[in-house]
Every structure is written in structure tokens, then in C-alpha cells.
Symmetry: C2
Subunit: 143 residues, 2 copies
DNA sequence: TTCATTGCAAATAATTTGCAATCGG
DNA sequence: CCGATTGCAAATTATTTGCAATGAA
């Protein structure tokens, strides 16, 4: 049997069950990040939410994302460049091959990393979180 | 036959040949970063150089590191946390395991990535540049 | 001499925090 | 009603930049 409502609605209910209050700001931010295909920044979320809720503030976006991260709905990464990237954990994990010749971005399957993950666990006893990776190099056309 | 002088001295000569002026600040910063076993931050370098040259400024450290990066002596990475990490390219390439529990950074051998590199080449015809990687997860103490 | 380089102070830019007002449960 | 949550403004933090003074070649 399937729980009722959209993904965002169920996540909101789940937040409520965790003891958090459901404010319009939180609901809109939650919807925005869960509907994003890719990763989003605080600025992306701020702009998107502002269309429906012009009074939103940046602090609320940051504080809500911190909350959603702690609640396990999103990951928060800094890939360099000095801003956080948020990514729904629900989405299938995938990785990017970025060609430094032509800039093309291709996706890679998760299972390419299985051997690496196993090796890091075996040799370093390190439980790697390989959920979102960017790999630079040269694609077939450019090499 | 071997070129004369220490590594830092040879690097300094090489900088000079590239058309850069050799100031005491640059020489001290160069020595500091080349002698570092691990990666260093601008703050590390600033503190270290200040002991021998109290007048040094942060801008000079940043500008010099930018120069050394362009000249190919160091790599400049942002592993998250919003500050640059500098690393001498002379040293063997290695990668970082960053524990999201305690923040500890451990080093990994290059050869852990050999299988990944081979797989990306075979399956995606992608020539990956795996020279400096950051992998997040949990270390043995925290998992 | 002459222009690259420096130090200082001010500017950024993204994020965090203190605090009084507000609103969800 | 009451404390969690918000918006605002100010604080932080790491880095960058403008500019006049300095010093390497």
C-alpha cells in the first residue's frame, strides 16, 4: 500500500512528525528542492520561492535547508566556488563526466564506482559516500 | 647531471626565468609551500612566513599562490569549508578521504583509482584526469 | 629609472547570527 | 497562549581589488 499525496506532501508530513512546524516558507522550499532535477543553490531556491512568496528571506532558506539536511531529505555539498549545493536524496544517484575540451557533461552509472567503494572500505576502512561526483577529463571526441 | 641548489632555489630560478621578480616575500612563500608535507592554506603560509618576515600581508600570500599555481608549482583546491588548499605538484599525486563525522582528512594512494580510470576509459571512452580528488564519507572511528 | 610588486584598507560574496515581532499547534 | 520560526540588519569569514608607495632588475 502506498502512502498518500505527492512526494513533497509526504515529506512535509514526515517533517511535522519529527516535531518541526509546517510554515508556508518551509513547504515552498521543500517543494522547490524536491522538484529540482539537479542540485540547487540557496540562491536558486530563494528566487524560485520568491515568485510564490515574495516575503521570503535568505536566512530562512539557509535555515530550512540545514533542517532538511538534518532530517535526511537533502545532501549539502560544497564542490568549491564557495556556495552550498543541495540535492534531494530521493533521486537516483548519478555522476558527471565533464570534458575540459568541449565542456560537455555526460552522466555515469553508479556501478562504475562499486569497485572504488569496495577498495576504500577494504583498504582504508572508510565508508565513502559516492552520491554525487564530478570527474574532469577528455571525452571521446576531444581526446 | 643534476641542476644545482635546493628544490626551492631551483623553483625560484625557474620563476625568474618566467619573467617574475624575485622578492623576499615570494621566496619565503615558495619555500614554505614546497617544504610542506601536506596541503597548506593561505593562513598556514601567512603564519609561517610571518615568523621570518613580520611585514608580510595576506594579499601577497594570495597573489603569490595564484602566481605559483599559474606557473605550475602548486595546485589550488577547495575541499569545502570555503578556503583554498595549496599543494606542491612535485609531490606524488594523492587524494583525500574527508570524514563527515569528525572532519579528519586522510590521504589515499593514487592506485586506488586505477580500476575506476580503466573502467571510465573502457565503458565511456573518457580519459579521466584523476589527479586530486575529495571523497566524503565516514572514517573507521565514526562509522 | 621604471614598472612589477607590495601593504593597506575597503570591497566582495556567501553564509551565519542576534533579536524583536509573529504565528503555528 | 507560548515557544518555534521568521525577517531584518549586522556580523563573519575567506578572499579579492584599488591605489599609492616601494624596490627589483
Amino acid at each position: 500500500m502506498m502512502a498518500e499525496g505527492t512526494i513533497a506532501e509526504r515529506a512535509a508530513r514526515s517533517l511535522h512528525d519529527l516535531g518541526y512546524r509546517l510554515t508556508p516558507q518551509r513547504i515552498l522550499i521543500l517543494e522547490a528542492v524536491l522538484e529540482s532535477d539537479d542540485h540547487v543553490t540557496a540562491e536558486d531556491l530563494f528566487e524560485q520561492v520568491k515568485r510564490r512568496y515574495p516575503h521570503i528571506s535568505f536566512s530562512t532558506v539557509y535555515r530550512t535547508m540545514e533542517l532538511l539536511r538534518d532530517a535526511g531529505f537533502v545532501t549539502q555539498t560544497d564542490l568549491g566556488g564557495g556556495h552550498w549545493q543541495y540535492h534531494p536524496v530521493e533521486k537516483a544517484t548519478h555522476h558527471h563526466l565533464i570534458c575540459q575540451g568541449c565542456g560537455t557533461v555526460a552522466e555515469v552509472d553508479q556501478n562504475v564506482f562499486d569497485s572504488l567503494q569496495a577498495e576504500l572500505s577494504d583498504r582504508y576502512n572508510f565508508d565513502a559516500t559516492l552520491t554525487h561526483f564530478a570527474i574532469f577529463g577528455r571525452c571521446s571526441a576531444c581526446r
